[in-house]
């Protein structure tokens, strides 16, 4: 009747693994993996925003391509991240080191960005847009000064969803040989070391929750106007 015993031991061992200074240093060390994860997430978030937001803003402004912008999120959900990572690994992109990871990360971050920004742009009260046009604003001015600020809450919630998605995808990338904190978990599985697997998982979970927390705090600090109406995806 000692069912709690092994579990408590594992947690203790995972803690020991985490607090061992030797596991933080070196190329397979926690610091290096953490940096990789952070760099991958930030770089791919910036790349995805550069790709998705201009497209979404223009489509939303023109009111075109709505079906595409909205459905792309459903498609993104149906396609397994792991499958895309492995498929990319087996294509010539697989030769470029972190190439498959970066491409997969961007592919999975674009849909929520696109959908939320598009829905945000279309959600702007039409009478406000018409009033702006009535005041003599050009299309470009309407986009930058009216629609974009009003759509900002949903655009930002898209960025938040994308960021969390990026952290998760970067973790799975370790299964397909990518860098990042997921490597600690996969290495743990290969060594059949449950403490290492759990320690890696705790690191990943904390990383993801910190990213989510940063956006949460950012939203609270933002002026009331920019506060979210809640994500749509």
């Amino acid at each position: 009747m000692d069912e709690g015993g092994p579990l408590v031991n594992t947690i203790g061992d995972a803690w020991k693994w985490l607090t061992d200074a030797a596991h933080w240093a070196g190329d397979d060390g926690i610091w290096h993996r953490l940096t990789q994860h952070l760099v991958l997430t930030v770089v791919c978030l910036v790349l995805s925003c550069l790709i998705a937001l201009p497209v979404a803003l223009v489509l939303g402004h023109l009111g075109k391509g709505g079906a595409l912008a909205v459905n792309i999120s459903n498609v993104g959900r149906a396609v397994p991240t792991f499958a895309v990572l492995v498929l990319l690994l087996l294509t010539p992109i697989g030769q470029w080191g972190e190439g498959p990871t970066v491409v997969a990360l961007v592919l999975f971050a674009v849909p929520p960005l696109l959908t939320n920004a598009y829905v945000g742009m279309r959600g702007v009260d039409r009478s406000v847009v018409q009033a702006a046009r009535g005041m003599g604003m050009t299309g470009r001015q309407v986009l930058w000064r009216v629609e974009l600020p009003l759509a900002m809450p949903l655009i930002l919630s898209g960025v938040r969803i994308a960021a969390v998605q990026l952290v998760a995808t970067a973790t799975i990338a370790a299964l397909a040989g990518g860098g990042g904190l997921g490597r600690i978990i996969t290495a743990g599985f290969n060594l059949a070391s449950t403490p290492q697997v759990v320690a890696g998982a705790v690191l990943v979970a904390v990383f993801a929750l910190v990213v989510e927390g940063i956006f949460e705090i950012g939203e609270r600090l933002a002026p009331g106007r920019a506060r979210g109406r809640g994500p749509t995806v």
């Binding site: 397994p80 792991f82 499958a83 799975i172 998982a201």
Partner: protein, 226 residues
């Protein structure tokens, strides 16, 4: 010695009919495991989610913690979630099911709660005026009206679960994910592509099936809202 056969398997092509015919049993087994893991997880999640959502609707105090907990669960990446459950379940199918239940739970609770909250107060009061008790109100008025939102949640949860099962390959119970994993290690293009395409096909079919169920269950509405 016979010369090696010069078919699409030997050439390691992406699309290969030979693969489908020679590995049929492996593929069927993987698909069945995939369906089993998905269906089991989503059903268990549904059974847990309904009372949680109802409780969160009824008692405002419960809503905060329930939503916060589900948000935290949903934020944890799938690979980490499976890994955190390893000490509890070991290398087993239960581990994958438990992880998927936690994700599906989040999506279901949020959507069912949103559906319950969207029931108009007028409707509720009319039912009370007609002498409905709280249980009858819940079962015959509130839950049916929350059905479209709940079904939308169920569709999202199911499609996500189909996709996430593949990550279960890390513990050897990933349905088609197992084929992708071994295909990756052996650089077997046809296997990886076939398994990936089958995953998407399963997700789309499940989505369409649930949409059909929703149409049958809610004949009074044709609008699909999430």
């Amino acid at each position: 010695m016979t010369a090696p056969p010069d078919d699409c398997l030997a050439r390691n092509e992406w699309i290969c009919g030979e693969y489908l015919s020679t590995r049929r049993q492996i593929i069927v087994d993987a698909v069945l495991q995939h369906l089993e893991l998905t269906a089991l997880s989503v059903l268990i999640a549904l059974v847990i989610a309904v009372p949680l959502a109802v409780a969160a609707r009824r008692w405002a105090l419960a809503a905060g913690p329930v939503l916060a907990l589900t948000t935290i669960l949903y934020t944890i990446p799938s690979l980490a979630m499976f890994s955190l459950l390893l000490p509890v379940y070991g290398l087993s199918a239960s581990l994958v099911v438990a992880g998927l239940v936690l994700y599906s739970l989040t999506l279901l609770v949020r959507n069912i709660l949103a559906g319950l909250r969207a029931v108009p107060e007028d409707t509720r009061q009319a039912a009370r005026g007609m002498g409905y008790g709280p249980i009858r109100l819940l079962l015959t008025v509130e839950l049916p009206l929350a059905l479209p939102a709940a079904m939308a949640g169920l569709r999202i949860a199911t499609v996500s679960a189909v996709s996430l099962v593949t990550v279960g390959a890390i513990v050897g119970f990933g349905g088609l994910g197992n084929l992708i994993y071994t295909g990756m290690n052996t650089y077997f293009k046809a296997q990886v592509l076939t398994a990936s395409v089958l995953c998407v096909v399963i997700a789309v079919l499940a989505d369409v099936l649930l949409l059909g169920v929703q149409r049958v269950l809610t004949p009074w509405t044709r609008a699909v809202r999430s």
